[in-house]
């Protein structure tokens, strides 16, 4: 070989060698997946750890490192981590947080790799942004009616009475309320962040009202339908509502002081864990005519866009959300709405009337609109509800104020 062409040849060989070596990653080096999640209480944490350990057993070379997040401040920790470029590989996000991160490019798009899964899972809407999917639904949670049958039996209504429309709901609450002795008919939420609006929106949506028009250009919260919904809710709250925080409403419900409340599956868990002796039934949220629409939120798993292990992370997420593991989680935590559709068909849910209500309600539920400015919209709605319910403001005026504020948000964004 002539010297002149030897050196370029050597360079090319070395270049090819380098490319070959770096292409597949070094074999045998363990991958550590950092996972931040919220399920930390002693009842459910072992299950999470077990699922992670099982994955490690079936996938030698992968280690899962768990970090616990507190429900109260976990969001801040996540935000700070992403903002400073130090986010974990996998993070559990609430359904109303996903858009904050997906719209700013912090999450890895996964739609290409989950085409087969989209049909098998509930709950995709909050994870979608710009025609791509950025999070995987894991555990959902809708809201249903809880009725204290002990109180129901004291009225002259049938002991299996479940209201199917607004008229019947009103009748039920009035009758229980008139039992007297400090007993209220309806549990009406006080001004509590991230909670009050979730109790009103079911009535709002059940009446086919919308916050924003379908083309996204106009705020239509103050339509006739919205007005009717708010008027109905206010009447219910004023005439037979006990106003208190969600926790205390549940305490009161369990103590037989409130007849009807709207709550999620955590109440079932509490009744089971604390062995509370209460006779209750669950029912679907009623609309003006049957059926109504409820609120749904949930926990999702997302991958950081800066992760070095995206492929492995997605593999682990699919493992976490497969039928068996979702069932295991739901059985341990008494969760009613796994995102995995296969899992919902298990007898664990079918054999329990309360869980079955939740499963049915999921098909009749809506997520809040997927809007990057949802935090502001939520605040506007909460202020509107507080004005109407607690500050004596007229319904129409408050609705118009809310409409104008939301419209301003929309207009500013579209500029």
């Amino acid at each position: 070989m002539k010297t002149k062409s030897f050196i370029p040849f050597l360079m090319i060989i070395s270049l090819l060698g380098i490319i070959a070596c770096s292409g597949g990653g070094r074999k045998g080096e363990p991958i550590t997946l950092e996972w931040w999640q919220f399920w930390t209480d002693p009842a459910i944490k072992p299950t999470i750890e077990k699922i992670a350990a099982d994955y490690e057993t079936h996938n030698p070379g992968v280690k899962i490192r768990l970090t616990d997040l507190t429900w109260g401040n976990g969001h801040e920790k996540i935000v700070i981590a992403f903002s400073s470029g130090t986010a974990p590989d996998i993070v559990e996000l609430g359904s109303d947080w996903i858009l904050e991160f997906s719209s700013s490019g912090q999450l890895a798009p996964i739609s290409k790799d989950i085409i087969a899964d989209t049909a098998k899972f509930y709950g995709w809407p909050p994870a979608i942004y710009n025609n791509d999917i950025y999070a995987f639904p894991w555990i959902l949670g809708t809201r249903v009616l809880y009725i204290n049958r002990g109180l129901l039996k004291k009225t002259n209504l049938d002991s299996n009475f479940v209201p199917v429309n607004w008229e019947q709901l009103k009748k039920l609450c009035y009758k229980i309320d008139s039992l007297g002795g400090g007993i209220y008919g309806f549990g009406s939420n006080a001004a509590e962040k991230h909670t009050l609006y979730k109790k009103f929106l079911p009535f709002f949506w059940s009446n086919n009202a919308r916050i924003v028009s379908e083309d996204g250009k106009y705020s239509v919260i103050s339509s006739d339908k919205g007005f009717a919904a708010l008027k109905y809710y206010k009447e219910l709250s004023d005439s037979c509502g006990m106003v208190d925080t969600q926790r205390r409403l549940e305490d009161a419900f369990l103590a037989g002081k409130v007849g009807v409340i709207i709550s999620g599956d955590w109440l079932l868990k509490r009744i089971r864990n604390e062995k509370i002796d209460i006779d209750f039934i669950t029912g679907l949220i009623p609309g003006p005519e049957y059926p109504g629409k409820s609120f749904v939120g949930g926990e999702y798993l997302a991958i950081s866009n800066k992760s070095q292990n995206k492929i492995e992370a997605l593999k682990f997420i699919k493992y976490l959300t497969d039928r068996e593991n979702e069932l295991l989680f739901c059985k341990t935590n008494y969760s009613a709405n796994p995102a995995n559709e296969e899992a919902t068909k298990d007898s664990f849910f079918a054999d329990d009337p309360a869980l079955q209500t939740f499963i049915m309600q999921l098909n009749l539920s809506r997520f809040p609109p997927a809007d990057p400015q949802w935090v502001y919209i939520e605040d506007i709605i909460e202020t509107m509800l507080e004005d109407v319910l607690f500050n004596g403001q007229p319904v129409a005026e408050s609705l118009y104020k809310a409409r104008n504020k939301i419209q301003k948000l929309i207009d500013e964004k579209r500029k």
Partner: protein, 284 residues
């Protein structure tokens, strides 16, 4: 008497180093951010100069939270100071069981603020003990509980704060009382001065440094009240504070530049306040 400069710098070096290592960057970074429209998670942002500060002056939510903070400061501090002084005076002289009372009064101060806030949330609610007590005493508390009413939410949190902190300030007053020379009292006895005279002419004046310290520290703490509101009301029912506003704005709405401006504005207010307090106390 001249003191060598180097000795001073050496002695102050722990702070100098700590400040340079950990606090200089955050302070400058936040100051810088306050002059931008930086939003958390967004990669780009632009300079806005003093626009954030100008906007704050017409931001009703911020002004409201600031107003609440002022109510907190002006309401809680005088009450706390007086009560803790009374407690200190009661426990000054030695008597049997004094340690028990002293420890008991101090206990609220050492318990976690979050847990105290949770406990009081329960006590203030409909059917809670404080609620029942108020009913028994003839007051008619708001039907849904003290924390679910625009009129009483902030005041209830203030009352809890006073309860929590009097023990700690009592301790400071006790230390101050003990450093007053007994000879002064003895001399006053010889001169025939009565209890009140001794209190006004000896105790109060000599307690000035401690009182000033207590008021300044309490002011700084009260201006930054946050955890109680975070746990008990999340700022609802007209109980938001300035720091809670900053927290919501910065970490929940991600308007971090605007929140940094609010933080600096708050800082300036606290500084002006403390400065005025210093001057007033030095003169009086």
């Amino acid at each position: 008497m001249r003191v060598r400069q180097t000795a001073g710098v050496l002695l102050a070096s722990p702070w100098i180093l700590t400040f340079l290592a950990f606090w200089l960057f955050p302070l400058i970074y936040s100051l810088f951010l306050s002059l931008t429209d930086y939003r958390l998670l967004q990669p780009t942002y632009s300079w806005v100069g003093f626009q954030n500060f100008i906007n704050l002056f017409s931001d009703t939510i911020f002004l409201n939270s600031l107003k609440n903070t002022f109510i907190f400061v002006f309401g809680a501090i005088p009450v706390t100071t007086i009560i803790s002084l009374i407690m200190a005076l009661l426990l000054d002289k030695s008597f049997r069981g004094r340690t028990l009372f002293r420890s008991g009064f101090f206990m609220p101060s050492i318990t976690s603020m979050v847990v105290i806030a949770l406990i009081f949330t329960n006590l203030y609610s409909r059917g809670g003990y404080i609620f029942l007590l108020a009913q028994m005493a003839g007051f008619s508390p708001p039907g849904n509980g003290f924390l679910l009413s625009n009129k009483t939410a902030l005041l209830s949190i203030m009352a809890m704060d006073v309860w929590m902190s009097v023990g700690y300030y009592m301790l400071l007053f006790l230390a101050g009382l003990k450093s007053i020379p007994i000879e002064l009292y003895e001399a006053a006895d010889v001169a025939g001065a009565g209890r009140w005279r001794k209190f006004y002419s000896i105790t109060l004046p000599l307690l000035k440094p401690v009182t000033l310290f207590i008021i300044v520290i309490n002011t700084i703490k009260s201006f930054q009240v946050f955890i109680e509101i975070f746990v008990m009301t999340q700022g609802k029912y007209n109980s938001s504070s300035a720091v809670y506003f900053i927290y919501e704005l910065g970490l929940n709405r991600f308007e971090f530049g605007y929140a940094s401006a609010a933080a600096y504005l708050l800082f300036m207010i606290i500084a002006i306040f403390s400065f005025i307090q210093f001057k007033l106390m030095k003169q009086g």
